[in-house]
């Protein structure tokens, strides 16, 4: 007899084989991280059936490793086990795709055996699908069913759950169909698997699908089939390959009682785990804490029969919809707090109707919307104003603590922190796509551990030894929690540990504060997550200070909106909000379409309401709404792109040469185009970046954690190599960039410098093309012609040094002229903006951030908000080289630092820094730029961008910036709002 156990991240699987190789028993169940208990029960069950029979046994699976070690049973690595099983069960298979709870694996079995697992940063697996299903408020099974009825696919970032959430949530809030979102989620898993694991190898031939998600989800298999353009098979026992492999590979015999004993021993041993001090020492401690926090509350009024004027604040957040109804004299008449099941409209309608029903004589004096769905709700209900959520929260916090100097709001999905100086917001921190330790994070874990989120929080309060879990993303946290459980941590201590981890995430990742003094003296914490006393306490403990948590911590957005409405309402006119009758008759239609007005083909969601009101979302510009072409007169990014597009091929005797429009070429195209054209080449560049172009090349990306601008290169190379009329591709390696004399050196970043090497090593499609990727040094003007001639000589016999010299002179001249044109255009834009009294945003980043697929239209978003956009190289030349507190050795960074110093003295200019996810160098630059700006009292705004295409969060950020600027200007005249707070 043989026994194989596969203990995965979420399930435990078992197979028993008889001596003839028949499967005589198999089981599959979720273990909810109670691995030892489940395994013990499983063995007891087997013992009933088989008694003291001896088994050749082995354990496999990602959670099985430590487990096997602890009970001294041989361990078989799971991918290897799959291979062993595949040899026996499916010898005809060429490729195996196996998705598990947290791992994705691909095995190439023919043409050179290769086995691969996802790296440590990769979601796209079962846990990811579960997480997404939770977000959609459906089960994974329902998700599969819904996906079958899709009629369009949205782009969802496929890197990890956290990223995808930022895409999915706004889609839901904007009214996208759950069916379409479900299917899009499955396609994102497919793309993740291919982008992360194919690494240049073709997935073709006989493809097998294994593992839970692929077994249970027909639509996931269909998505793989469609993307891979083949029909894969789901073999019998697709859930059991790993345990079959383990069973087949097993060579050590055990009896069941023996195994059970070892298991018990392993459990007793418990390896111990790192922990910190408990949150509360005693019940008395907790009671004092509770009393202290009860002080920050709002007087309550009664809604039933209320007949005066009232103000409604409506916060359509990412995971919840909240309303607050406030009487003219500041009493809290009514509140609602409801989970947002994708569409806030029916929830708000119900809330409004409830108010009308309870108080027929009420006069709604103002209705103010805020949150992710603020615009949708404003249109739907014809509300008076919409207010960017950051400002709503600030207003609310000030109500409780007029002298507040720091606000931290941790909601279900996002985290907002503001620093307040002189009565105005001086800095805004929002969590970036990769640091989402928020409420839904705790919820996900509570659920994974089989707990209600509230009970889970309560358990954490008195954990005697909170687990030290670190503070990275959810995917990592899963493994940390599992490890802690294995080491014997109780659920109480895990809960407390997670609370601490949420706090550390906020403090050290989002705010980057080292000490309490960095935050300020008066801190207000809010957001639903702070209802969790464990999180609140963890915050106080970690920072060593007492903070204010208002009784309505979870409703602060809505409360702030109501306060705003009350402050701005006209004493005579009532709100424009729909009256009861219209509300009852309200209809809401949702239609999705692709905008055809430009090549971006934005995916639009069109909401239509009775009364002819309409709300369109998903657009990156105003065209689909105004039907007017985008006004690019104040947008230097658009102008730059047009400049680069003006370098057209000119016929030449040396034939065609292709340049991939990636990375450095966004800076050096004028140089190389001129240089090569002068030498008689017909220079063609690859087509503009699109999502489609990216997907076409994603199979050859060797490192899934490299930045998106570099990943895009694979698509451009694919596009160029498909053109038979272009025999040669030119993409040189460049350690150094042009030396502008602004820094201590003129390096390119390692990725920009050497990406041609990766392209050469990974892109098989270059076969048959001449790929020129030699190392060139344009930083040494004098040496360049000689060196370049030597290089070109290798490929073309008749290129003389004289020719190269002439071409070089022309190239440097054109490059200088190009820079000069940018500066001039920049000056013009600045002048025009100043004449029109507009804010000027220096959208700072790298030259390749002008690529629309990389910046996702943020430039146009800024101009649509009424500001002008220029780039850092328009202003950096005004500055002399100056010391920085970091080593200033990259050409592009030197520009950034110079631009930051320049705008310090320009009251109408602000800097927004674009940072590509995975850009290691920006870990250095962002802090430096921030510090430079802060020294001069300027706001710093950083926007992290990746494949994420949805601009919802970015819009909030930018609107907050502009609101903060308005606020700053208005600050001295701001009336005190302290009175009521004192009365509380």
């Amino acid at each position: 007899m043989r026994l194989g156990l596969d203990i995965g991240s979420t399930t435990i699987k078992c197979v028993v084989l008889d001596d003839d190789g028949h499967i005589v028993h198999k089981s599959y169940e979720r273990h909810y991280s109670h691995i030892v208990e489940h395994a013990t029960a499983l063995l007891a069950q087997l013992e009933e059936k088989y008694g003291g029979t001896s088994f050749a046994a082995a354990i496999s699976g990602s959670a099985g490793m430590g487990f096997a070690e602890a009970c001294a049973v041989p361990f078989v690595q799971e991918v290897f086990a799959t291979r062993v099983a595949a040899r026996a069960l499916a010898p005809e298979a060429d490729v195996i795709i196996e998705l598990g709870g947290e791992d994705a694996k691909i095995l190439f079995l023919t043409g050179g055996v290769e086995v691969r697992m996802n790296g440590s940063c990769a979601g796209g697996t079962g846990a990811f699908i579960d997480q997404m299903a939770t977000l959609l408020k459906i089960t994974p099974t329902e998700l599969n069913e819904k996906a079958r009825q899709q009629d369009k696919i949205y782009t969802i970032a496929s890197r990890c759950g956290v990223f995808a959430k930022t895409d999915v949530q706004p889609l839901l809030n904007q009214g996208a169909r759950v069916e379409d979102v479900s299917a899009s989620i499955l396609y994102s898993v497919v793309n993740q698997t291919i982008a992360g694991l194919a690494q240049g190898r073709q997935m073709a031939g006989n493809v097998l699908y294994l593992g839970g998600p692929l077994t249970f989800m027909s639509e996931l298999r269909a998505a793989f089939d469609k993307v891979l353009k083949l029909t894969g098979t789901l073999p019998d026992n697709s859930l059991y390959f790993v345990c079959l492999g383990a069973a087949l590979y097993a060579d050590e015999a055990f009896t069941l009682p023996q195994l059970r004993e070892r298991l018990a021993g392993a459990q007793a041993a418990g390896a111990g785990f790192q922990h910190t001090a408990p949150l509360f020492k005693s019940q008395a401690d907790y009671d004092a804490f509770t009393r202290r926090h009860q002080q920050a509350s709002v007087p309550l009024g009664t809604l039933a029969g209320f007949a005066g004027r009232a103000h409604l604040g409506l916060d359509a957040g990412s995971t919840t919809v909240k309303t607050v109804l406030l009487s003219d004299d500041g009493q809290l008449l009514h509140t609602t707090y409801q989970p947002n099941s994708g569409n806030p409209v029916p929830l708000v309608r119900r809330a409004l109707l409830d108010i009308y029903d309870a108080a027929p004589g009420i006069t709604l004096a103002s209705v103010t919307t805020t949150g992710y769905g603020e615009l949708l709700c404003k249109e739907a209900f014809n509300a008076d104003t919409s207010l960017v959520e950051t400002m709503a929260h600030f207003g609310a916090a000030r109500h409780f603590a007029p002298d507040v100097d720091f606000i931290i709001d941790i909601g279900g999905q996002d985290m907002k922190c503001f620093k307040i100086e002189d009565g105005a917001v001086s800095d805004i921190f929002l969590n970036e796509a990769c640091s989402s330790g928020c409420g839904s994070f705790l919820q996900t874990f509570a659920e994974a551990l089989g707990q209600d989120v509230k009970d889970f929080a309560r358990l954490g309060l008195f954990g005697d030894a909170p687990v030290e879990l670190g503070s990275r993303c959810t995917v990592f946290m899963n493994s940390s929690v599992k490890q802690a459980q294995k080491d014997g941590a109780s659920i109480e201590n895990i809960s407390a540990g997670l609370a601490l981890s949420v706090v550390k995430n906020a403090l050290y990742k989002v705010i980057r504060a080292a000490s309490p003094s960095a935050l300020g003296r008066k801190v207000v914490v809010q957001g639903g997550t702070f209802y969790n006393d464990a999180v609140l306490r963890a915050f106080e403990v970690e920072m060593g200070m007492e903070v204010v948590r208002p009784s309505i911590a979870g409703l602060m957005g809505a409360f702030g909106a109501a306060l705003y409405g009350r402050a701005h309402a006209d004493a005579e006119t009532p709100s424009t909000v729909l009256p009861k009758a219209e509300l009852e008759a309200l209809t809401h239609g949702v239609q999705t379409t692709n905008c055809g007005l430009c090549t971006n083909r934005c995916s639009l969601t069109i909401n239509t309401f009775s009364g002819g009101r309409r709300y369109i979302s998903g657009n990156r510009c105003e065209r689909p709404i105004t039907h007017k072409a985008d006004d690019t007169s104040l947008n230097l990014y658009a102008w730059k792109l047009a400049q680069l597009e003006s370098y057209k091929p000119a016929p030449g005797p040396r034939g065609r040469i292709g340049l991939p429009m990636v990375l450095n070429f966004y800076e050096t195209l004028p140089f190389w185009h001129t240089f090569l054209t002068h030498l008689g080449f017909e220079v063609h560049v690859s087509p503009p970046s699109t999502r489609k172009l990216y997907f076409a090349g994603q199979g050859t990306i060797p490192s899934d954690t490299v930045c998106y601008p570099a990943k895009l290169a694979h698509g451009h190379i694919r596009a160029l190599s498909e053109r038979d009329d272009i025999p040669t591709i030119f993409y040189p390696c460049m350690s150094y960039n042009i030396d502008e004399g602004m820094g201590d050196n003129c390096f390119n970043c390692p990725v920009v410098a050497y990406y041609p090497e990766v392209i050469k090593a990974s892109c098989a499609e270059l076969e048959g093309k001449t790929f020129i990727y030699d190392y060139v040094g344009i930083h040494r003007k004098k040496d360049f012609p000689k060196k370049m001639q030597k290089i070109l000589e290798k490929y073309y016999h008749n290129i003389s040094l004289r020719e190269v010299r002439a071409a070089t002179d022309a190239a440097y001249a054109e490059y200088d002229a190009y820079l000069e044109r940018i500066r001039q255009r920049g000056e013009e834009i600045i002048a025009q903006a100043r004449a029109e009294g507009r804010q000027i945003v220096v959208l700072a980043g790298r030259p390749y951030h002008v690529d629309g697929e990389i910046n996702h239209g943020i430039d146009r978003l800024i101009t649509s908000l009424g500001a002008a956009v220029i780039s850092e190289d328009c202003v950096s030349h005004h500055m002399q080289k100056a010391p920085t507190s970091v080593l200033n050795q990259w050409t592009y960074h030197a520009r950034l630092y110079a631009a930051a110093r320049y705008i310090a003295n320009q009251p109408d200019m602000n800097l927004v820094q674009l940072v590509s996810f995975g850009c290691g160098l920006d870990a250095v630059t962002t802090d430096e730029v921030r510090e430079t700006l802060h020294r001069e009292g300027k706001l710093y705004t950083q926007i992290k961008i990746d494949e994420i295409a949805n601009l919802g969060a970015v819009t909030i950020r930018l609107r907050s910036l502009f609101a903060a600027l308005d606020n700053q200007q208005a600050a001295p005249a701001m009336p005190a709002t302290g009175k009521e707070a004192e009365a509380v």
């Binding site: 670190g470 350690s735 390119n748 990974s762 100056a882």
Partner: protein, 447 residues
């Protein structure tokens, strides 16, 4: 200095305490641990020059936590760890803050590592240690105003120590897994470290002649360790230099591999130094520059190669010992994979080392890098497919290290690599059993 005045006019000068020459007498210098075999001797060399030094051995999760607190969290793992280790030490109360200094290396390349010293200074300010000076250890002429001078005699001694460290590491790694008396190899390493330190104190073991003698003595002693050869999976380790060598950085990777029954091969530290020298002359070749400078690089290369040859010769005297390859050979192995111009981080050396390992019987390789390490996207992960295409036996697994990557996750991937390696070692295991078609297909309900 004119830059400084220009900045003064703008009202801001980034300032920090300098390491002054007087501090040599008053201050204790803390050195972060990296390659334990080598640093034991290098620390002694500092002491012999009159410095008071201590190599930091503090580890544990607090180190990473301190790093996360004071350094941008997207900064690479080595910076987080090294800075965290310093701050953890300064907070421990074991050091008088007014007489403690720190030292950190600066490579001067186009990678983030050159900025560690600045990130460290920022972190010291934030953590409340503004008075602690940081000295830079570099050969690129950075930080000219520092009072810490790496003098020529020190450089000579340190270079010798690197050679000895490489020899000891190379020999210990190939004998330890097979030694008949557990612990014998490590005891011999310690014996030789102490012997060499004593010789350094007398100014010996530095000249070419002395080195030749010592290389021979070491090889003879190690060759005499009684061993029993059993088949073991041979694993090479390459990667970002800190994560490759430092047990703190790679979660004690070597110990893990040893426990899994492997023989480990860590290419030597001298290779990295020689790589830097080659880059110097290669840059001039590629982009132009002074012929004099190029000549200097060539002299440096000659200097190291002569000594390297002595070491290899010494080891080759014993057929049961495996000598490392000559760097002149390593330097050719990039061909067909990556250009010598790729000089940031570990650059082309990392690729060449992988090729060398595969060719010298270590086809199983852990490529260790900090999560998101920029050069390794190119020279590590970027080259693996190509190496596999040329050498199908190459069995390389890239492993990312960062503060929250769990050991389980890392070890699982290494175990996959080892399973493949083991299978190749033993020949594919044939299942003792043929699976039969199932009689009744039982479907299992979704979880």
């Amino acid at each position: 200095m004119s830059d400084r005045y220009a900045a003064l006019a703008e009202g801001f000068v980034p300032d920090y305490p300098r390491f002054t020459p007087e501090m040599k007498k008053t201050h204790k210098i803390l050195i972060p641990q990296m390659a334990p075999t080598h640093f034991y001797m290098i620390a002694e060399i500092f002491r012999q020059e009159g410095y008071t030094v201590e190599i930091l051995e503090n580890g544990g999760p607090e180190v990473a936590q301190e790093g996360l607190k004071y350094v941008h969290n997207d900064t690479c793992y080595p910076a987080l760890l090294v800075i965290g280790q310093f701050i953890d030490a300064l907070k421990s109360g074991q050091y008088d803050l007014d007489t403690t200094a720190l030292i950190i290396t600066q490579t001067g390349g186009g990678c983030r590592a050159s900025n560690y010293i600045h990130l460290l200074r920022k972190a010291l300010l934030k953590a409340g240690f503004p008075q602690v000076p940081v000295a830079s250890l570099n050969f690129s002429g950075l930080e000219k105003d520092s009072g810490f001078k790496f003098t020529l005699p020190m450089i000579r001694k340190a270079l010798a120590a690197v050679f000895y460290g490489d020899e000891l590491m190379c020999l210990a790694n190939q004998l330890r897994p097979y030694e008949n008396t557990p612990g014998q190899t490590d005891a011999l390493v310690r014996h030789w470290q102490d012997t060499l330190n004593a010789r350094f104190a007398q100014g010996k073991a530095i000249s070419k002649r002395d080195m030749k003698r010592a290389f021979g003595e070491i090889a003879a002693d190690f060759a005499a360790i009684p061993v029993t050869m059993v088949p073991r999976v041979k694993v090479g380790v390459v990667g970002e230099i800190y994560v490759k060598y430092s047990p703190l950085g790679n979660s004690h990777l070597e110990d893990f591999l040893a426990a899994e029954g492997c023989e480990v091969n860590l290419p030597g530290l001298m290779g990295f130094i020689q790589y830097c020298i080659v880059n110097g002359s290669e840059s001039i070749k590629l982009y132009g520059g002074s012929g004099m400078t190029k000549k200097l690089f060539e002299i440096a290369m000659d200097f190291t190669t002569t000594r390297e040859k002595l070491m290899i010769e010494a080891i080759k005297q014993y057929p049961n010992l495996r000598a490392p390859g000559l760097f002149e050979h390593t330097v050719t192995l990039h061909e067909g994979f990556i250009g010598l111009g790729a000089k940031m981080g570990e650059g082309w050396l990392l690729t060449s080392e992988m090729v060398e390992l595969v060719k010298s019987g270590f086809p199983n390789i852990v490529c260790a890098q900090p999560f998101g390490c920029l050069p390794n996207h190119v020279v590590g992960k970027g080259m693996i497919a190509k190496i596999r295409a040329v050498y199908p036996e190459a069995n390389i697994t890239p492993i990312d290290y960062d503060p929250s990557a769990t050991r389980v996750n890392q070890e699982n991937r290494i175990k996959l690599m080892l399973a493949v390696g083991k299978e190749r070692l033993e020949g594919e295991a044939t299942p003792q059993l043929q699976l039969q078609k199932e009689k009744t297909a039982t479907r299992v309900a979704a979880g």
